[in-house]
Symmetry: C2
Subunit: 318 residues, 2 copies
Amino acid sequence: MGAGEPARCAAIVGTGLIGQGWAIVFARMGWDVRLYDVNAAMLAEARGLIQQQLNELERHGLLTGADAIAGRVHVASSLPDALKGASYIQENSPENLEIKRALFSALDAAAEPLAVIGSSTSSIPASLFTEHLSGRHRCLVAHPVNPPYLIPVVELCPAPWTSQEALDGAHAVMAAIGQKPVLVKREIEGFVLNRLQGALLHEAFRLVSEGVASAEDIDVTVKDGLGLRWSFMGPFETIDLNAPGGIADYCARYGGLYRSIGATQGECVAWEGALVDALSDERRTLLPTEDLAKRRFWRDEKLMRLMRHKQNNGDDNG
Amino acid sequence: MGAGEPARCAAIVGTGLIGQGWAIVFARMGWDVRLYDVNAAMLAEARGLIQQQLNELERHGLLTGADAIAGRVHVASSLPDALKGASYIQENSPENLEIKRALFSALDAAAEPLAVIGSSTSSIPASLFTEHLSGRHRCLVAHPVNPPYLIPVVELCPAPWTSQEALDGAHAVMAAIGQKPVLVKREIEGFVLNRLQGALLHEAFRLVSEGVASAEDIDVTVKDGLGLRWSFMGPFETIDLNAPGGIADYCARYGGLYRSIGATQGECVAWEGALVDALSDERRTLLPTEDLAKRRFWRDEKLMRLMRHKQNNGDDNG
């Protein structure tokens, strides 16, 4: 936001964990945020929870002025009140098609004429809940990772009728608030992130089910191996740098090996029954159920420190 | 190494990049290291290159006393000279079965009776080059990631005749020098790390070939999304923390989604032809060929800073 420009305004509809995270992402970049949720109790506690998370981020050196940021987050008295003046709307209702269809009808009816409407859905393509809308051209999926204020990637996935203008607008909004928008060019189950995660998980489940390695050792292989490079380079850049002549050279050298490996990776094992029992036993031995909550706190601390490290090291440009 | 204990001695046979990396890993933990290579020119320059890398690590605060560490690295005059007194031997010859067969014959003949012999091979199972040896029980694969002094995972993969004692011994050596040994319980193509990498890469290639996303956006999805968590948790711990009741709960909630995704991930696209041309064009636009070397330097700087960050944050225990 340049000096003298008016603050831009985003509406966050649905104020559970994901909605709270979005509010932080917008407010810390100077946007005014208006919160709404049909669940009055959830709406009532949202600002307090946002303030708590902002305080945590400030304590970790990830932002300054938590109170001023929280001051830009307002609770709206109604859906139309939330949408008034908002140039961008982020929807975060439960993963239920009927709920989303009804909510998008209400959003499209009350939104400002030029507002773009993104859905946080991780699994429902926008075409299934926007086809009936007169403003369907301005609707799309903007799928975040939780928490979005620590994990910046946002998957933008248009419906077939989403306009290029709306897609560009959502991309510009995400870039403006410091997120990392990626384009999923057509609707596909799992979008990109969960398809990549699923591919690796399927192989991990297979290796456990075939007795090749323990879950613990697979975790070590990633966190003390593959995941180190992947935290600042993607998989393509990684292989591009791993052969003298770049990615084409890598494919010529190792494509045969990976094709041979791939021929034994086609069939997915089911994530159920004795395999899941054994995995659960192993995990619960490493981390008892009563420690799960504490370990989630540990994870979030780790993420905050990692993000601060990345900030301090200018991750994009070296 | 406890006070008063004699320094332990490792032999590094094959002193290219990987062998140099192993020398650093052993020497920085107080081991005496003896280098040997049939290529006299490579052997002659190894110590100097090791000293350079140690200086870099000291400059980044990843170790102190680079000169003292380099002082523990000795160039042997012959293979028997290198193996004399070594309780652990790491072989790093080219990925060629005949070379490894011949070299392991020489290693087994000259090694101390109780020495364990590990191979750095990334693709050849130990059974193919150790079957004929009288000491085949003490041979196994100990596959590192380059550079091993920054990426600690080591895949230990026994041949069918590798003794439990030798496997335990190699595991203890790797743990003692601060690496992260994982057990690949039986010989399998690609071991664990490259199978996991391959699974994710196959999906990445597929998404590009089907026009779902650009290589650049797939890289962003990993480095600003999945890879952040995977740099300090593995894939199983990640999903264990992503459902209220842990991994069993996660499988019950999302197993169906991932199975459905998996059903469309079976067939691998070939890493060749127009697909690789397009990927190479995209990468070379982002990073011209003449900048590849510079970017590898950037990658190694990033890794060094990330490892220092992990050291400072007590990565294993929070």
